[in-house]
């Protein structure tokens, strides 16, 4: 199995994977979205809320704020001895403010300086003159299968690697495919008078080109054993970490099957 990283930054990881099949790649995708645990606010205790937003609505907004997660610091609630939450299995945030003011995710004060919201500029609640707000929010580990707020990924998807074959005997270099392609995969080289594939990996295999070609010179296929995989993180983990955690979880599952046998 060969893996080649195409693009990597702190939000996104794009790589090709060759010599794998759909069952493996899809297992990784599913585990990365719904089984890798992250932190999210689960319980909110309001001391005071004069704002026009309801407690429930604000608690829901707080839950959706992505939080930088460190699995070494916090343990899942199921593995903890406590009944509800404690310092081992949760991180506490306080939010306090007096209007006129907009409170942002950056105003959340964490009990652990390393664990804080990914972005500081998320508007949470607007307070008018004289309105006050005070609350404590408890973040706990959870998985995307419990609630989407615990998904570490936003877009996490793969596609078969496209393969475009142009039959040069049939192609008349009319340029129709280059005009019609919604992903700008082709370019008509007017000097050489031929069609070039310039952005193969952007092809979505919509087959517009092969349908529109007057001479049926183009075939578009997806390679069976090669994939382009993209993981976009919400910031709780770097995307590479999500992939490696997903791989760990998958191998753990495989071990469980072996133990069972």
């Amino acid at each position: 199995m060969e893996i080649e990283i195409k693009n990597q930054d702190d939000q996104e990881l794009v790589f090709t994977i060759e010599g794998a099949d759909v069952s493996l790649v899809n297992a990784l995708r599913r585990i990365a979205t719904v089984e890798v645990p992250t932190l999210a606010i689960e319980t909110v205790q309001f001391t005071r809320n004069d704002a026009r937003i309801f407690d429930e609505a604000l608690a829901h907004r707080l839950g959706l704020v992505p939080i930088i997660t460190d699995l070494e610091v916090v343990i899942p609630q199921e593995e903890c001895d406590c009944e509800d939450y404690c310092s081992r299995c949760s991180v506490s945030f306080t939010l306090k403010g007096k209007g006129p003011k907009t409170l942002y995710s950056g105003d959340l004060k964490s009990s652990d300086p390393q664990i804080k919201p990914v972005l500081d500029t998320i508007p949470l609640v607007k307070l008018r003159e004289g309105e006050e707000l005070e609350l404590e929010a408890i973040a706990q580990l959870g998985t995307g299968s419990q609630h989407a707020k615990w998904q570490p990924t936003t877009s996490c998807a793969y596609k078969h690697y496209p393969q475009i074959t142009i039959d040069l005997d049939k192609c008349e270099a009319c340029g129709l495919c280059a005009d019609q392609c919604p992903r700008s995969v082709y370019r008509l080289d007017e000097k050489e008078n031929k069609i070039e594939v310039v952005d193969l990996e952007n092809c979505s295999m919509c087959n517009t080109c092969s349908k529109d070609c007057p001479n049926q010179a183009i075939t578009v296929e997806g390679l069976r054993d090669k994939f382009i995989f993209r993981i976009e993180s919400d910031g709780s983990f770097p995307p590479k970490e999500i992939l490696s955690l997903a791989c760990d979880l998958l191998s753990l599952k495989a071990d469980t099957i072996l133990d069972f046998l």
Binding site: R52, R61, L64, V65, T121, I122, K126, E232, G235
Partner: protein
């Protein structure tokens, strides 16, 4: 208030709303601002374009 995340894909779009609104009010082209902010998908872009701040 603007929803925290994109309703379709879950990307945190609200964090960019203040900047988007300010720059568009200052006369910048909203297409350019959205590209700058790194909102590539049309689901996320419509969240900012279509939002009306009522209260």
């Amino acid at each position: 208030m603007i929803p925290i995340r994109c309703l379709s894909c879950g990307k945190v779009v609200s964090a960019y709303f203040d900047e988007y609104q300010k720059r568009v009010q200052d006369g910048e082209d909203s297409k350019k601002v959205l590209d700058d902010l790194g909102l590539k998908r049309y689901c996320c872009r419509r969240m900012l374009i279509a939002h009306v701040e009522v209260w």
